[in-house]
Symmetry: C3
Subunit: 310 residues, 3 copies
Amino acid sequence: MTLKRKDLLTIRELEPEEIFLILETADSMKEIASREIKKVPALRGKTVINLFYEPSTRTRTSFEIAGKWLSADVVNISTSASSVTKGESLLDTGKTLQAMHPDVVVIRHPVPGAPKILADRLQASIINAGDGAHEHPTQALLDLFTIRERLGRLEGLKVAIVGDISHSRVARSNIQAMRKVGIEVRVAGPATLLPRFPEQLGVEATTDVEDAIADADVIMMLRIQRERHGPTMLPSLREYSRLFGLTVERVKKAKEGVLIMHPGPINRGVEIAPEVADGPYSLILDQVTNGVAIRMGLLYLLTGGQRTER
Amino acid sequence: MTLKRKDLLTIRELEPEEIFLILETADSMKEIASREIKKVPALRGKTVINLFYEPSTRTRTSFEIAGKWLSADVVNISTSASSVTKGESLLDTGKTLQAMHPDVVVIRHPVPGAPKILADRLQASIINAGDGAHEHPTQALLDLFTIRERLGRLEGLKVAIVGDISHSRVARSNIQAMRKVGIEVRVAGPATLLPRFPEQLGVEATTDVEDAIADADVIMMLRIQRERHGPTMLPSLREYSRLFGLTVERVKKAKEGVLIMHPGPINRGVEIAPEVADGPYSLILDQVTNGVAIRMGLLYLLTGGQRTER
Amino acid sequence: MTLKRKDLLTIRELEPEEIFLILETADSMKEIASREIKKVPALRGKTVINLFYEPSTRTRTSFEIAGKWLSADVVNISTSASSVTKGESLLDTGKTLQAMHPDVVVIRHPVPGAPKILADRLQASIINAGDGAHEHPTQALLDLFTIRERLGRLEGLKVAIVGDISHSRVARSNIQAMRKVGIEVRVAGPATLLPRFPEQLGVEATTDVEDAIADADVIMMLRIQRERHGPTMLPSLREYSRLFGLTVERVKKAKEGVLIMHPGPINRGVEIAPEVADGPYSLILDQVTNGVAIRMGLLYLLTGGQRTER
């Protein structure tokens, strides 16, 4: 089976079978990470450009490692070291890069829709690595992968997503991914940070975090991103932590063995207590490990790789 | 045939036959970019250092891709992440790098002559990737390559270069390269930005852009580099655009099918109209593509590669 | 013989035989630098992360080249381009990176002990590439290598280290390394920059530089690091240079053929005169060359490589 699309821009556009294809392919990639020699020739002679307009350790490194383990040539471009400072438009930068014949361009950009601008005009495969408050599809894919890996299934599960729902690309991509595979989603957060029309997203929304997590199989905490909203929308951090932070006490009120996720980087003691982040039911580091596998799978599929049927 | 020099510092120092050797070698490299597997072992075990004292997306990326497709180890050093902040002199940095046995050092530096300082003292091959307002030889080589690729010849052609001639390393390198291969060059721009003694450069200079482009086969527009000259030398951008910008109307007054070039990044609506930059006679993206081929050819020749005679 | 430790954090923790094992291994690596094809497959499929919280050209480049010549995948992370700006703790960054299964993490950090924080919690091998004023063990190893290479032995030699002894990680690591292999060490510098209890370090301390270097086989000058101490501790640079700088006159008063070392980058005319730095007895560039060999040897040993007995 092959992925019949050039780009991965959003979860919204994916069919459920495409999601499962990516998960299956990532599954066969994951084993490479535990080999003595972490290297396969699948993308030899392919060029992957990481075009990052926002700083990032984990996502850029994850894509870079994924590409290198597949033997691709990986080129990093970050705004600080780029002619972006000379004021070239995104599309002109994209067309310039295209003229160098990359196979894949991974882009992170503060403006929603930026990856689509490139996808519509470039031959290279475009992967959205986060565009403003819009989408972060590889995050949602690695999150599904992680849940399925631990619980053996996705359909029928209940997930609570807690935090700044309305500004989070992680929440937006995950809500759509989860709805597509039959997960029931509840979101919780301060009233000002909840989506206005949750029913349109197919989720239930509440300002009562304990209500949201009560019967959840998985609790996904979002990072408080102080840089994304003004001081008036958010109560003080201490207040936020008191009302919405995932403390040991709150976890105790949830289902026994409820799984804890967070896209990272975590703010310890703000949205999540250290004991919870480091606890036995935390999947936070599994998410990171699986991120490499998901990106390997995606790079492989987008450059024409085929998944062998089992 | 081999290139009998260690470094590429300027176009000025090149014999015409050396220029043609580089163009021929690049020609045989260009095909690699369209392969399924863009990788040849020519520079395996060679080390290329990109030492950039000025920000650059396209040139650094072009050299990096060229090196990687040839299987070289490529190491990027940019001022922002370097001990240059500790105030080490250029020559000491160069000698330190030399002690790590690189085969090639590609340098971009704001000071004219900086690459020569390294070339005179280091064993590694030095490639000038732009030194202040002095030279940018690989740009001129890729420009010649692009013209020849499209028109089948160089000798006897007429090229108009328009913009800030006196501060442009692109213009300086191109004028010399073009004169050496028998191209007739006219330059146009505001009086304050024209060379004082154009006859010494072997070109005609005029402040009338329409006169300059009237019978040209190729029009090469230069980027307005606001960072390189004070506010008094340049009329306002709107005024500049009105007097010197390459508009659709101006192109209509030139020869039918006149080719349009620009080293990029372009300022749309300032020195060049979007319709012209994106039009059928624009070679702007061919220039980028050919830049990789020229740099592959150069890296190959400077590390001892031999061009097979046809 | 193999190195029976996961990490290299300090010289203090090393047994003399471990030091000699690393020197021997580096010795067999050094020859690779002079090959036509500088590439061996020893670390193929291994991943090395360079995690630099302080700017550095030479050390980062040295590790990057060492890794690449051994065929490792090398990933650079520098603070300027990282989510460190999002305020994640060092340990959380480390655990996140660990989840991507690197084999080695090379870390430079302004806080003493930072590498140990990672070493205690991560499976990957940690190499300390400089932690504040604490240690810089690979520098000391390459210094020992360089001295032994030139003089054929270490035991019984006399070395003078001159400069800001008390704030220098280079001095701290070197003093320990030298004491372990039987080198006699004298340190000299302004009284405010000398260690308070030199006898605890096993060295003699003096404010009289000429006395310190009088019968030394090697003089190791330290870089004046203006960023590391306030204006009151240090006399003016001119005064410093006059009292402690290594001038031609001073060298003449020392032993004939005394060897000169400096970790770089040098401040010409401050702590060392240009004639001395560039003179026939200067080992400064040998130190850089040997730095790559030492780091190759270390990467090889820490990833399980075995040194064949001769």
